[in-house]
Amino acid sequence: MNTFSIGGVHPQDNKQYSAHKKIVEVPLPQKAIVPLSQHIGAPAKPIVAKGDKVLVGQLIAEAGGFVSANIHSPVSGTVTKVDTTLDAWGMRVPAIFIDVEGDDWISEADRTPAVNRICKLEPQQIIEKVKNAGIVGLGGACFPTHVKLMPPPGKKAEVLIVNGVECEPYLTCDHQLMLEHGEEIVVGIQILMKALGIARAVIGIEKNKPDAIENMRKLAAHTLGVSVQPLDLKYPQGGEKQLIDACIGRQVPSGALPIEVGAVVDNVATIYAVYQAVQKNIPLVSRVVTVTGKEVARPGNYLVRFGTPVADIIDFAGGVPENTGKIVGGGPMMGRAMSRLDMPANKRVSGLLLIPESEARRTDPANCIRCAKCVGACPMGLEPYLLSKLASLSRWDEMEKHNVMDCIDCGCCQFTCPSYRPLLDYIRMGKAEVGGLIRARAAKK
């Protein structure tokens, strides 16, 4: 069995609450709020105005730059306003408000369940379709997928790595997707291989999902170049660089992108979205969201249209249990607690985790005992104790020298710290500051 070479931790995976729960569609909301910034990069520019009638899948906002993504209407109805809304953290973001009327799709969308295996498009046409469908990495970072499919000149992709790891505890949406839509994912992999002009793809799946490994193996058996790589359990195996290391044994150098070692990494949910866009003409308007937690009445995997308020999704899963202390968007390791529930689901929300009050609080930090557990746990080979100290002292230059920009925010350091020190809080703050300094320097040149 393979895994990545340095660092990593073993949190309890707690996937039993929602594992093997069939994907259920959440009813459409009465009013959908579609934020314009659901991806990394420039926010999309709205192309509809108040009073416009829209259909499901209709383009309502255009990408605002190369690293940006189109946004399509997840519902059909009337645009009531183009204004701002509050995101999960109370910050104002631009959004389009739509009053839902029925569920009418654009005419070209093929919503039949039959799997369409034949793709006769040229690579350029595939990339164009992926770009138009507004597909972004659904693993969490929301990086526009079409950018990954266009390697910079001089770089050549050699292998597509499919991320079916789902190393984040509690989340099961990718697992369930591999069980229910494995066939579509294999077709999606072939489409991406064609787009990239490569002959090899590796599906990385952690061994706590034996049925997914078996299912994907069976489906990929007759597909040339596609293999399944079972992986040992270790967090953060789903990190791009860690997964490349685990699957094909190549290390991405500091500051470089995966394409440097000839790899392109895509999540299974992203690949399913690519299949939908290319073969079925369905743009990215929904995703599978895991709603889970120890006390949730109906934890499970829910197919959610973007724009549905988070509160509606949780209500559908049985409502917020009385003793809930924290609601996290995403998993417990990388997710962020939400300060409000009226915010709409978007491409970023992969899970909703309801943590009971008794487990929600942090333990008070004690002094650093120089045990270096954080150094051992860091999958990027950094020194978290040092970086957090430097950040608290505002010594940005030194942080940059110690490669703070390599940090992937995985939280292993904070998870492993026996003194419960808020290492990641400081490192993240320092990373933002150093990132700002680097950008300012680049702008000056």
């Binding site: 509050l86 953290w89 109370g90």
Partner: protein
Amino acid sequence: MNPIVIALIALGATGLLAAVLLYVVAQKFKVEEDPRIDLVQEVLPGANCGGCGFAGCRALAEACCKADTLEGLLCPVGGQETMAKVGDILGLAPVASEPMVAVVRCNGTCQARARNSEYDGTRSCKIVNSLYVGETACPFGCLGCGDCVAACQFGAISINPETGLPEVDDDKCTSCGACVKACPRHIIELRKKGPKNRRIFVSCVNKDKGAIARKACLNACIGCGKCEKECKFDAIHVENNVAYIDFTKCRMCRKCVAACPTGAIHELNFPPKPAPKPQETEAQPAAAQPQPADPKPQTVVAPQPAAEAQPAAQPVTPATESAAESQQAVTPQPQTETKTDNVNTED
């Protein structure tokens, strides 16, 4: 010969040679430095706070010695007195400058801003600011974690536990500007200290539209522009839904303070108003409870504590101008603690 004598001679000769060598090198590579730099550095306070804009006291001393006039060179910690001494040493005339003081422009007290979430991460404003809006709904207001307190070398700023807001001690503040830089929300500003420490300023930086700002905080500036109309000296301007008083133009007439419907404009260190209006005694206790159904439009400003920096601890009765808004506005929930939502932040 006695080996001890040989050793002594050899050692002595080596020492002498080294001494001569060192002397020659020292003479050859001598760094000429203005001797006045040391003298100037001696009269500077030595806090190395960087408030002057230079790396430390030594750097300011060097800059003073190089400069032809003392214009633009000021030690905010030592103030006029120190600069006069520096002028004496260098034979330069000191340039008169206005003493400044740090002013906290947020009056979102615990009463005025209900907490809708609880933060249990690291107590640092910078970190909270990068994570989310904060424990209250105001995305512009004070986060109350005390980054400014930690930044102040002079112990001039402290968080008032009652209001949850920082307060500046006028006497200790040296206007070095460390707190201004430390505040991630740019709430603290250096303003003219004013005659007898009297100051008038808009204690709010919320750029949201009036209705949104008011929902987040009862004491917010709603950008209504009443103060702008009231001001005869063109000192107040409303920009981005928030009023700003230009302290170089303000003549301290205090008309804007009375005009502000939300009590966002603060006056400091003024003597209490001479003739209290008859309603004032009634309005005082009413401030904490919901207003009677139909109060006449009135303007009551709670008398300010004479010397303390932030008057925000006392509820300021907003003038009731539009009936609907006032009804909502003058119903502060004193029990904000119990209203706290159980949704927390930060995993």
